[in-house]
């Protein structure tokens, strides 16, 4: 019967060839991204995706081949003639050789395009952007109630199921046991056989002993060689003296007994011989992160500034998604009091008032204590404000964050205004010096600064780099 094979594949493509094509497109992708960012479209990043354009002149996608160019004498047959007679002459069509010369036909049936276009989704774009960055201070946490378990291989043990049995190991173990059990007996047998052979060889004048080889030989081989020699010597058995004959017979009896003893060594001892792959259950650390977004919505924060803050939060959220399975955002807006709000209210609400930044920090501590224990959550705070606060407020804030920092993974302070550093900034600066590995400060003067600040925060750090580069982010 003819084979009928269902080869439909639900798992989707993502072939090896696609991988290699993407590698080749990498630098074009980066160029396209940089162009998009330079156009100040940071807020649109991740929305509609991006198109990579590669011209055929570029060697990345060009496939050279051996073929003709236009020119010379080209002959071509067409169908559907409804007007021409032999000898008619017509003008050459513009752009390329006449009568359909190959032009850019390429070789074979594959048409060569002038430009190749590849779409990349917003997700891909973000992924690529973030590939250049890394997140510090990450902890993989195991919680009491994390139920995920992973089995890991952990060596070899002596008990287990058939499926996990290691046959080669087991055979080796068995061999070890047998050898150590049998060896003394075998040596004894060899000794006796040697004795027997020596006795017999005395009666065979023309017998030549096999030369003693310096090479090591296995004991079984030695025994067999000895037995062979004895067999050839046995023909003279009857010439031997009675005493010798008796001794020979005694030896042979002893050897037989010893062989029986060897035979009684058990061939397989399951408890000792069999070996199995061991496995150990390990809990899988879950990774969760929470991002607190305290945003200043006081009078001084204009729509523009709020928008820049929003873009920053968006980037942060996606970046963290790369590292954590589970990222939660807590939106806190504050004027002189702080409220936790929904995303909708956060971005589109119209509350306004004066500024008291410490209210936000208090709120954060409150929520943290209630819902996000540090043993289970990685905590990040992304504060966006224009720094416009007065009196004791900057100092209070500085003290509060100094207390918080040891417990959290990262604090990002973005000052969204284009003047000199504010009083809040100046208050934070010494704290930043103390906690350089988890406190980043940056000033966003316009939308164009968002991405540079963001990438400065998370630049990949070499082992050699002494001072954290985030120090630069401090300078406006």
């Amino acid at each position: 019967m003819t084979n009928f094979n269902d080869r439909r594949d639900v798992t989707g493509r993502g072939t090896a060839s696609d991988e290699r094509l993407n590698k080749r497109l990498e630098k074009h992708f980066d160029k396209a991204i940089d162009k998009a960012i330079a156009n100040g479209k940071a807020s649109d990043i991740g929305k509609d995706g991006i198109e990579i354009e590669v011209s055929d002149d570029d060697d990345s996608l060009h496939e050279p081949g051996i073929y003709h160019d236009n020119g010379g004498l080209q002959k071509r047959v067409y169908t559907g003639n409804d007007r021409y007679v032999t000898g008619d002459e017509i003008d050459r069509p513009k752009g390329g050789g006449g009568g359909g010369g190959p032009g850019k036909a390429g070789n074979g049936k594959y048409r060569v395009q002038d430009t190749y276009r590849y779409k990349r989704s917003g997700e891909d774009l973000l992924k690529r952007l973030f590939e250049r960055l890394e997140l510090p201070n990450m902890r993989n946490l195991t919680t009491a109630d994390s139920k995920k378990i992973q089995f890991k291989n952990a060596g070899v043990v002596s008990s287990g199921t058939d499926f996990r049995r290691l046959n080669l190991h087991s055979k080796k173990e068995r061999l070890k046991r047998l050898m150590s059990a049998e060896m003394p007996h075998k040596r004894q047998i060899l000794e006796w056989l040697t004795e027997e052979r020596d006795i017999l060889s005395a009666y065979s004048p023309d017998f030549k002993k096999k030369p003693q080889d310096e090479k090591w030989e296995p004991i079984n081989l030695k025994i067999r060689t000895m037995q062979d020699e004895i067999v050839s010597l046995k023909t003279h058995f009857n010439d031997a003296s009675p005493a010798d004959q008796a001794r020979i017979l005694e030896i042979e009896d002893n050897i037989e007994d010893l062989n029986k003893r060897i035979g009684r060594v058990p061939r397989w001892v399951p408890s000792a011989d069999l070996k199995f792959r061991n496995r150990v259950a390990k809990p899988v650390p879950t990774s969760k992160a929470v991002v607190f977004c305290p945003m200043d919505v006081s009078v001084s924060m204009t729509e523009d500034r709020k928008r820049n803050a929003k873009v920053f939060y968006f980037l942060l959220e996606h970046f963290l998604k790369k590292y954590y399975e589970h990222v939660e955002l807590v939106y806190i807006r504050h004027t002189d009091t702080a409220d936790e709000v929904s995303e909708e209210e956060f971005y589109h609400g119209t509350v306004s008032g004066s500024t008291l930044v410490s209210s936000a920090l208090e709120k954060i501590n409150e929520i943290r204590a209630a819902r996000y224990p540090t043993s289970e959550w990685n905590i990040y705070i992304a504060q966006a404000t224009d720094g416009d606060s007065f009196d004791k407020d900057p100092q209070n804030c500085a003290q509060m964050i100094a207390k918080m920092l040891p417990e959290i993974q990262g604090l990002f302070y973005t000052e969204i205004q284009n003047g000199q550093p504010s009083s809040l900034w100046r208050a934070y600066a010494p704290v930043q010096q103390r906690f350089k590995d988890r406190f980043w400060m940056g000033q966003i003067k316009s939308e164009k600064d968002i991405w540079p600040i963001f990438s400065k925060f998370f630049e990949k750090k070499d082992a050699e780099a002494s001072a954290p580069r985030s120090a630069h982010a401090m300078q406006p």
């Binding site: 019967m1 080869r7 160019d69 004498l73 003639n81 032999t86």
Partner: protein, 545 residues
């Protein structure tokens, strides 16, 4: 008139009598997924159990019993549209080594398909034994039957019988060879890095049109013989390289190389057409893994060589037989009217020849085979004058004979009748760059038939359309340069920028300068390109310059 016996009808009826649906199994099915029931107590063994397999069995029975077609066994492969695109991109092969150009091609096909510029051919079929017939799950039941007839019989019999396929390809081995090539590529990627392997494959692809032995094939050798041969090549190569002299002799200049190419130093006794294989065997310093991959790719290109020369005949043959068989099925009342209509619509679309555009091989091929049948059964006076041997012959035998013995170019020369040329209103256009206008050299009238036929045959001839470039010299004693010669045909120039890039690839693996001479019909050199390998192209032990 060619007569047919009725045994095939009885065979099919007897086969179908084992099923509950009987002769109506096509009519009763809503879709190709229709489950077919074998009658209780059916004694026949080895009965097909699915609708598709039953269709295949019925169609093959008719093909073999009524027309006596010689077929390989079929293997039906059910895939979805995505996989069909993948198959397209890798030249129809179910397995392939990974390379970025396949992904690029796939994207091109996908775009063309999504914007309606290209229909997903309803068939991809592979010349192997058994023949792999790919069926798209999204197709209707009529289309499935059509594909099975088209590919499972039409292409099948062509693959099995055409002389080029028999000479050049080994249907048993092609998938194994591909599997081996894929493994080799992956292994080498791991050992030597993806970039190195990618460069090598890029070079092989650039040379794939000139990687074939057209007239002679190396004899089959055992692995031991191959290994011995390779060892003796290596020895010969080492003997002809003197590493000490290489470093102490004065540097060669461009003129030295050009002189070497113009002279007779190291001239081959016969020019070598298989450039890729020549480099693989004779390049002075190349690691064995690179030679191995080049050799395997040359072997693979050999597999595709007949396809390039028989596209017209192959598609014509498949279209002709699918038409013939589905008509038979309709006559036998197995194919219901509705399905037959659907088939006719699809068939008509496929053989449509838009005027003034590129000639559709399905259209012309189908017309030519139909015409052979006509010339056997109902020849006109003109036919008898033009092809007397066909008049009155058994048309099935005539078609079979043509399938066996011709390639596209010779097929056109032999069978493109005046009638077809009139039907298609063919005309031949000559574009001579020495003149300012294009000339209509011949149309479908008595004066023009011969020239139109000649010109069309030339269009299908690889020799006329692909640049003729051969290896003519290897100066192994002195400069170690490689000399290639392009014999200009009809004053058609090479695409020079492209050739530069190809020469760049060649020189990288050759390790020494490569010279290309453009030679006119009298043997005079009218142009030269010299390409030296980039400095530091001494990777993997390539020495100088």
């Amino acid at each position: 008139m060619t007569q047919f016996t009725d045994t095939y009808k009885k065979e099919v009826e007897s086969l179908l009598s084992n099923y509950v649906d009987g002769m109506n199994f096509m009519k009763n099915a809503d879709d190709w997924t229709h489950p077919i029931e074998i009658k209780k107590g059916a004694r026949r063994k080895d009965l097909p159990t699915t609708w598709m397999q039953l269709v295949e069995k019925v169609i093959v029975t008719i093909a073999e019993q009524k027309y006596g077609l010689d077929l390989y066994p079929n293997s039906l492969e059910l895939i979805d549209a995505e996989q069909m695109l993948d198959a397209y991109a890798s030249n129809g092969m179910p397995i392939s080594y990974p390379h970025w150009s396949f992904a690029k091609r796939r994207k091109q096909y996908e775009d063309a398909y999504k914007t309606g510029q290209m229909g997903l051919a309803y068939e991809i079929v592979i010349n192997t034994n058994p023949v792999l017939v790919y069926l798209m799950a999204q197709n209707s039941k009529t289309m499935q039957a059509l594909v099975i007839a088209h590919a499972g019989v039409g292409h099948n019999t062509f693959f099995k019988n055409n002389y080029l396929f028999r000479q050049c390809t080994d249907a048993q081995e092609v998938l194994n060879d591909l599997e081996r090539l894929k493994k080799t590529v992956l292994q080498c990627e791991e050992r030597y890095g993806r970039k190195e392997v990618e460069l090598l494959l890029d070079a092989c692809h650039a040379l794939q049109t000139h990687a074939v032995n057209r007239y002679s094939r190396p004899p089959k050798r055992t692995p031991q013989q191959e290994a011995e041969r390779r060892a003796s090549f290596e020895e010969h190569r080492q003997r002809s390289i003197d590493h000490v002299m290489d470093r102490t002799m004065p540097r060669k200049t461009k003129d030295d190389f050009k002189a070497a190419g113009n002279g007779n130093s190291g001239r081959l006794t016969e020019p070598e057409e298989n450039i890729l294989l020549y480099i693989a065997t004779t390049a002075p310093n190349m690691p064995e893994w690179q030679r191995d991959i080049m050799r395997q790719i040359s072997n693979h290109a050999q597999y595709f060589y007949p396809q390039r020369q028989t596209q017209l005949m192959n598609e014509g043959c498949a279209t002709f037989w699918h038409y013939q068989l589905l008509t038979d099925l309709h006559e036998m009342r197995i194919l219901p009217d509705g399905m037959f209509e659907e088939f006719l619509v699809s068939h008509t679309n496929v053989i449509h020849q838009p005027p003034g555009a590129r000639i559709n091989p399905y259209a012309l091929g189908f017309a030519m085979f139909k015409d052979i049948k006509r010339m056997c059964e109902n020849p006109t006076k003109e036919d008898i004058k033009w092809r007397p041997e066909l008049a009155g012959q058994n048309w099935v035998e005539a078609i079979k004979e043509s399938i066996i013995n011709y390639n596209d170019s010779s097929f056109v020369q032999q069978f493109l009748s005046p009638k077809i040329m009139r039907d298609f209103h063919m005309f031949s256009v000559h574009d001579d760059d020495k003149k300012d206008k294009i000339r209509i050299a011949a149309i479908h009238d008595d004066f023009g038939y011969d020239m139109v036929r000649q010109d069309l045959a030339s269009q299908y001839s690889l020799g006329d359309n692909e640049p003729r470039i051969e290896v003519v010299a290897y100066d192994y004693r002195d400069t170690r340069s490689l000399t290639l010669e392009h014999t200009i045909f009809n004053r058609k120039p090479l695409a020079e920028k492209e050739m530069q890039k190809v020469l760049g690839h060649i020189s990288r693996y050759w390790g020494y300068p490569v010279l290309l001479n453009n030679v006119d019909s009298e043997g005079k050199i009218v142009g030269q390109i010299l390409r030296s390998p980039a400095p530091g192209a001494g990777r993997f032990g390539n020495m100088m310059p």
